[in-house]
């Protein structure tokens, strides 16, 4: 079956969610990933939406924002943003998803300012709940386009901390847990090296070359010794995904280059 890069990214994200986990769901691709996981391998996963919604069933309509009334109807809990953040601060959130404008070799994400924050070149929207998810969840997942200007050696503003300056940094900083578990891009999946905490390539998406990844990464990117190809979406995964987003609003089936499985 043919699929788009975005579909591959959603499926890759879905595979990171294990059954019965509590997931801090971001909008767009993570929302779809949560729904795919629920329908396939993680039927008991629970979704937290930071506007104050907890769901154990996917909503009946495609969401444009997490506050759409379709996300409220049939929710298992409607409550305050604070109550959900409290539970995350307790350590009860297994996995959280965020996006970003920039990410660096240690998985630190910037969604606030490009350039000096006192007189920035570009003002980005800001943290939302991303800083909280990066600080307090057990495993942080980041989803971003793979471009040299986005995957930079060091971000100049940390909105959402990964491993900071390397091993031991989170503990020294006082963060209670967590750290970046994977960066899913349109070219591959990167994970932190166990020793150095620098992001290295774990799998490369079908049809993508190592050179493309090197060219599009802003630091001297390394490849895991076990580096392999990202398994393409299965027919089942695609079917479920397309039943959730039939028009491909978030997965760009209308506009994006369509891939044929290798």
């Amino acid at each position: 079956m043919e699929y788009t890069t975005e579909e591959l990214m959603v499926v890759a994200a879905a595979r990171e969610i294990r059954d019965s986990e509590i997931v801090f769901v971001g909008m767009r691709l993570p929302m779809l990933a949560f729904c795919v996981a629920k329908r396939l391998h993680a039927p008991n996963a629970i979704g937290f939406f930071e506007c104050g919604i907890v769901r154990d069933e996917p909503p009946e309509e495609l969401l444009y924002t997490m506050g759409d009334p379709a996300n409220i109807a049939g929710a298992s809990w409607c409550t305050s943003t604070n109550n959900l953040m409290f539970l995350m601060q307790q350590g009860l959130i297994d996995i959280g998803f965020i996006g970003g404008a920039e990410i660096d070799q240690y998985g630190n994400v910037n969604t606030s300012y490009l350039g000096d924050y006192t007189s920035p070149k570009v003002k980005l929207p800001g943290s939302g709940g991303a800083a909280d998810i990066a600080c307090l969840s057990n495993r942080l997942m980041v989803i971003m386009p793979h471009e040299k200007r986005r995957l930079v050696k060091n971000v100049n503003y940390i909105t959402s901390p990964g491993y900071g300056t390397g091993p031991g940094w989170r503990q020294e900083t006082g963060l209670p847990r967590g750290g970046i578990k994977a960066l899913i891009t349109n070219l591959g999946i990167l994970r932190a090296d166990k020793v150095t905490k620098v992001l290295i390539v774990d799998t490369i998406h079908p049809g993508i070359s190592k050179e493309q990844i090197i060219e599009n990464t802003g630091w001297d990117i390394q490849f895991s010794p076990d580096c392999s190809e990202t398994p393409p979406p299965t027919e089942e995964e695609l079917e479920v995904l397309r039943s959730i987003d039939p028009k491909g609003f978030w997965t760009k089936r209308q506009t994006s280059e369509v891939k044929t499985p290798q």
Binding site: M27, F49, E50, C51, G52, I53, Y64, T65, M66, G67, D68, P69, N71, I72, A73, C78, T79, S80, T81, N82, M85, Q89, S112, Y113, Y117, P120, K121, V122, K123, L124, P125, G126, S127, G128, G129, A130, A131, D132, A134, C135, L136, Y157, I158, T159, S160, P161, G164, W169, R170, T173, G174, L175, P176
Partner: protein
């Protein structure tokens, strides 16, 4: 005996929002955002406002572009379903129409700041934000060691005014709210004044029939505005859906300053009232209204 707090949107904004005030503009993130009040603030040319909200979709971008804001205290400002907020960028990057101040927060730290204000304490501790540069760009955060632990002390916020939307209220400001709460309760409890925009005004008995559905006490409410459609283009659960296209159009039309000026003139300045706004929306708003009732299971408060 109960004294009515009902007033028009014009009066509520005119009497209860002063130039220079700090104002919570919606606290539920993507839903129930009081756009009608923001438009009225623009029409009345209120200025030097400090706008407070975790995320209020394009409402902040509109007020920034219209020159109404001196400062924002927020976790996120942009266009949730469509992307960046161009006026926000123009203000910070180019000083157009003027450069606003930004007090950086995350959703959680803003929630704690308003909760601290609600509680009447100067700060609340958190483990969030450690290691982030929000601690640098917002020097009001304070990092404190406590034994072997490190905590961030988030200073309290007590806004001058909270403008909050509800499904239904009585004339005294006892109101029912349902859907995701966001920071609704914290915003209402921490603010010195509360302006409620209500889809419906109902008899006191309707509210008193379900006191668990009340989020802030009526005595905290300063003004009640009967304002059906107050949240458009954002949604109100049980009343109308989100107007996704409106956000997409805003994004497209406001990329250039001229485009924003046209947009503002079309949707705000050339319109004299919220009712005219609804009339301009016409069938577009009718189509957003919910048509398939979905009632909560009955609840019995019997006591004898």
């Amino acid at each position: 005996m109960p004294s009515s707090k009902i007033m028009s949107l014009e009066d509520a904004v005119s009497r209860h929002i002063q130039n220079g005030d700090s104002v919570v503009m919606g606290a539920c993130l993507e839903s129930m955002i009081p756009f009608a009040a923001a438009y009225e603030i623009v029409r009345q040319k209120k200025k030097d406002l400090t706008l407070i909200a975790p995320i209020s979709d394009i409402l902040f971008d509109i007020l920034i572009g219209a020159g109404r804001a001196r400062k924002i205290i927020a976790a996120w400002s942009g266009n949730v379903s469509a992307g960046l907020g161009y006026n926000y960028r123009r203000s910070i990057e180019q000083g157009i129409p003027h450069r606003i101040e930004v007090e950086d927060h995350s959703n959680f730290s803003l929630g704690l700041a308003l909760l601290a204000g609600s509680m009447g304490v100067p700060f609340l501790p958190t483990r969030s934000l450690l290691g982030t540069d929000l601690l640098k760009s917002n020097p009001r955060f304070h990092v404190q060691s406590l034994g072997e632990e490190t905590l961030v002390y988030v200073p309290s916020l007590n806004p001058d005014v909270a403008i909050l939307g509800v499904q239904r209220s009585d004339i005294e400001g006892n109101a029912h709210f349902w859907g995701n709460l966001g920071l609704f309760q914290e915003a209402g409890m921490s603010s010195r004044k509360v302006i409620l925009l209500a889809e419906e005004i109902v008899p006191k008995e309707v509210i008193a029939s379900d006191p668990n559905r009340v989020m802030i006490p009526g005595f905290k409410v300063t003004a009640v505005v009967h304002c059906p459609g107050f949240a458009h283009p954002s949604p109100v659960p049980g009343y109308y859906k989100r107007d996704h296209d409106f956000f997409t159009e805003y994004h497209r039309e406001t990329k250039k300053l001229e485009g924003f000026k046209n947009w503002l003139n079309t949707w705000v300045i050339s319109i004299n009232s919220h009712n005219e706004y609804l009339a301009r929306l016409g069938q577009r708003f009718e189509k957003l209204k919910v048509k398939e009732p979905l009632f909560a299971a009955p609840v019995n408060y019997a006591y004898r």
